[in-house]
């Protein structure tokens, strides 16, 4: 079975802090994704990576950056956390051309 793990289930940070969210997948997937999920808004794509060191902006990249130094690991970085970044963050992975994405359990981030 595909396993996508995220470094934390719950995280509380202060406004202005730098925040790292880590995601690891064990299926050798080329594609990795970061989404945020807010009540009633579904999942919105923040960033996408299709290979090591390659990335593309999603629909809501402002305030975020990403890093993909190894194929299995995709990091989401909040350079200076703000309260409007309080959300559930979901990582996913897939093979190229495969529309089925495999999701991690999510990290619930609260910025105070």
């Amino acid at each position: 079975d595909v396993k996508v793990t995220q470094s934390s289930r719950y995280l509380v940070k202060r406004t202005g802090e730098k925040v790292f969210l880590e995601c690891v997948q064990d299926m050798d997937h080329e594609n990795m994704f970061w989404y945020r999920q807010d009540p009633g808004l579904g999942l919105r794509l923040i960033y996408f990576s299709y290979d090591v060191k390659m990335k593309e902006k999603g629909d809501i990249p402002e305030g975020y950056s990403v890093s993909r130094e190894k194929k299995e690991r995709f990091s989401l970085i909040l350079e200076s956390a703000s309260t409007n970044q309080t959300s559930m963050y979901l990582c996913a992975s897939s093979f190229p051309g495969d529309h089925e994405q495999y999701f991690g359990p999510g990290t619930r981030l609260t910025v105070t």
């Binding site: 009633g40 808004l41 999942l43 919105r44 794509l45 299709y50 979901l90 495999y102 999510g106």
Partner: protein, 112 residues
């Protein structure tokens, strides 16, 4: 006033009854349509998909119907069980794109 997007539609069904969850999509050029199930505290999990050249596809206890004329997708769950209680998301995959565009979700509650 409150944003409509903050309210998650809820479907409440009796255990053993059939459930029908509906979704409207926006992109006529989408190639695949997918249903995901998200249980409390977990990431979304793939249920079933349907290609745009099909009208119906059946899985185990689930059926997806696609009406391209009115851009409507539905998920039917037969003999609904307590374990079916979750939030269900539809997603569309635009042709030649890695992206999944998610709907806002529907909460399914199964009454014992």
């Amino acid at each position: 006033g409150e944003s409509v997007g903050l309210h998650l539609p809820t479907l409440s069904v009796q255990e053993g009854d059939n459930s029908i969850i509906n979704c409207a999509y926006s992109n006529s050029a989408s190639d695949y349509f997918i249903w995901y199930k998200q249980e409390s505290g977990k990431g979304p999990q793939f249920i079933i998909d349907i290609r745009s050249n099909m009208d119906k596809r059946q899985g185990q206890r689930v059926t997806v119907l696609l009406n391209k004329t009115v851009k409507h997708l539905s998920l039917q769950i037969a003999a609904t069980q307590p374990g079916d209680s979750a939030v269900y998301f539809c997603a569309e995959n635009p042709a030649s794109s890695y992206k999944l565009i998610f709907g806002s979700g529907t909460r399914l509650l199964v009454r014992p």
